[in-house]
Subunit: 529 residues, 2 copies
Amino acid sequence: MGSGESRPGKVSLCGDTSSKASESPAEPKGKRPPVLVDGVTLNGPTLDIREAESFLREAMPIVMEEAVWKATDVKEKVCEWRSPEQLKDLLDLELREGGEAHPQILQRCRDAIRYSVKTGHPLFFNQLYAGMDPYSLVGRFITEAINPSLYTYEVAPVFLLTEEAVLKKMIEIIGWQDGGDGIFSPGGSVSNMYAVNVARYHHCPDVKVLGLSALPRLVMFTSQECHYSVSKAAAFLGIGTNNVYVIPSDKRGKMIPAEFEKQVQRAKDEGALPFMVNATAGTTVLGAFDPLEEIADICERHNLWMHVDACWGGGALMSKKHRYLLQGIHRANSVAWNPHKMLMAGLQCCAFMVRDKTNLLQRCHSAQASYLFQQDKFYDVSYDTGDKSIQCSRKPDAFKFWLMWKAIGTKGLEERVDRALAMARYLAEEIKKRDGFRLVMEPEYTNVCFWYIPPSLRDTADGPEFWRKVHAVAPVVKERMMKKGSMMVGYQPHGDKANFFRQIIISPQVSREDMDFLLDQIHSLGMDL
Amino acid sequence: MGSGESRPGKVSLCGDTSSKASESPAEPKGKRPPVLVDGVTLNGPTLDIREAESFLREAMPIVMEEAVWKATDVKEKVCEWRSPEQLKDLLDLELREGGEAHPQILQRCRDAIRYSVKTGHPLFFNQLYAGMDPYSLVGRFITEAINPSLYTYEVAPVFLLTEEAVLKKMIEIIGWQDGGDGIFSPGGSVSNMYAVNVARYHHCPDVKVLGLSALPRLVMFTSQECHYSVSKAAAFLGIGTNNVYVIPSDKRGKMIPAEFEKQVQRAKDEGALPFMVNATAGTTVLGAFDPLEEIADICERHNLWMHVDACWGGGALMSKKHRYLLQGIHRANSVAWNPHKMLMAGLQCCAFMVRDKTNLLQRCHSAQASYLFQQDKFYDVSYDTGDKSIQCSRKPDAFKFWLMWKAIGTKGLEERVDRALAMARYLAEEIKKRDGFRLVMEPEYTNVCFWYIPPSLRDTADGPEFWRKVHAVAPVVKERMMKKGSMMVGYQPHGDKANFFRQIIISPQVSREDMDFLLDQIHSLGMDL
């Protein structure tokens, strides 16, 4: 507040407001002669944000109209497909010496929106996130304007406190009655990395200083259905992907506990040090939930850190009806849970939480930078939580979730989750009713996995030839739906199964009519194959 | 486009538009009887984004007025200090069963903005980023609304191509004439982790699969002035902080090459495997640049990976006048450079780049998830670059920078950098002229480090007692400026030096008058000490 001396209600510690020292930078320019340094005139700002006001005033209606209203309108396209080559031409990507005028930049904004996939559209079912929540969106606009970084209370007071409040509530919902600790991270993959690092530090605190070369071979466990970030974590953290012992899953995609214990024994027999298991609550493709109670029993027997990757399935914890899917999660040592997925908080919003109460996150990750985490500050520096993180600058990802939660309440979140699961149930039943659609399995969560069998194949007997042909169907249907822009749904092969569609349901913007439309469209797009 | 069949200019592959299959979810609801599943009615969306329109229409003017215009107005406060305890009460952080009405949520938005530190304010000098660029801001609003994730071209075509274009240009500016590769990461700390992982994979490709326990002890090098993320990286990646050999810096904060070579020899004599050096271009506190040419010579002699942490100093590459500071950077194997710092792209915008052209990033980090990186897609899957990353979901951090660059051009970026350095020069000269101010050293970049000596100490001779008293000055001045809200500048002790202020200059919103105000304010706030 350069001239804040004249503001009413100001906080004033220093009485001196009349001396030279209170001269304000906001007073009329030109009182002093121009200062030229290195050929640059330094008087006055050269970018006055208000000079940019006309640009912002023109740009904002475009953002709201094109990227919010139209992008979520079921009557509009989900995407406007262009090949990479076409799109490169359309966007004129090159960065040049000179700048461009406002009308041109506004057109670039329109183009960027036009050719982007509308992930907030009701018919976007392609990933484990979807939809647009208006409260979260406003939260994100606020944080983008404020542009904070969450290392210290000094520079991000509101955002550190809201992060703390959200973590506290999530920890309560997990069921850790004595509390815990946590941090928001840039993605579930990074959360899973946190888990590996914290688990090994818990077992071998020397690893931080001495490194893995001074330790016995560490072995971790995960199911064959786990997210691929577990493998990335093992590579990145120096464990090695060979030291991730993969546990078979049953036909539903759930880890088989007896096989887990066999693998632990194998590692021990080999003289390695087994230190953690990654259990998955809500697998990526099938939406399966590992049996957490039985896994917890094994972890207790063998002194293993139990991490639950609930990035996707964590949403079910909000539902009294469905939280049984994660029965036993309160026995985990750490949990990764992404509210940007089922809870629609907006990318990214990823909590990593530990049951530990001994400041493990801090001890494991801190580097005590003296320029940032000064100990002689005038406030309680225990609020400077940035050193728990592996990051330095860090975005305020919890705030948007906090604001949305305030707006719709725990009950509102619960209703959304219940409705998404009911919708998945409806879709599964429709699939069973329709000719040419076949469920891969009954859904446990909102992953509805199914094949579309075109009329030409419906009389063919099951067998390698049949599945080879079915395998080729989904890619073509996907190509056609994208080129049409009518909707987006993912497909993949899985184990020995031919390509099938994986329909994901999340957003309350989605209606039962959209489910019918989805099946109608797939038939329409693939009936000639 | 549920009912896109009727849109003009639509892309249509499938002629079938009249059958049941083209029935649109956008047609009037209620044509079919309501469907109830698990007690949930599924007809129609329960969240229509247009129902939230009134909320957004009321919220956006608050965001623009409070978080953009007022937050960048030099006449307003930089911060509205409240202690953690006070702020907890003011914000009413608790998350409850029920939601809140719009007027209450709007008040929460106002409060969140009011009590946040305004990092876009011209008098915010506290970190290595500052200011608000209107083009970047619009870019960020667009990406928050679109909410993309950058794994595949299919879901993020515009944002993957703009990332590619920005990386290409940054690589050109680094001076890698044969090109290179890169990825945007969530922070410079993560970029430095990438460097460590890529460097060790380059030396020992087996590490990905076998882990560090199968390798000899790896040793890396960095100067004592490096960012603390190097130590965090060594801990996180399993190298161990003891295996980071710290090289002394000279009085200006630059790595001493001869000492570097001694440390390499030491590691070899110990039988360890030296594999990389982290050179810093723009250190955090002093803004010093390590001598890259000499470091490159040593790396060549000893076959070491040369990483340059130019997160902060990389901005100087934009300036023909100042890029000599990074002379030799083209010889690096990898570079981390954060345009969210000196180039004001908005947090976060962090490029990690490698000179390698053999797909090293991909080979080192990929996990080939079959549900995401299908090989039977209908477009060129080399554009699905997500598997180069350690993340799965990833934000489109390059787009805002691309849009800003388009708007002001390379020349506009250069002018900003030149002006920031001229401003730092002006401030340093002013400090030398004024009683009671003492430069720690001549600035090389825009870190201007100085002590304020209150009148009561000006006649005291240099010595332990003098410095003990000076050490206590900055924390008190900082407390007073924050409680007043007049400005924010950082301080820290450094090596054997007592607490000093570190003034950082970045934004073209800042004027020479602000520099004078800064010094006046510090004197005003500390003259009684």
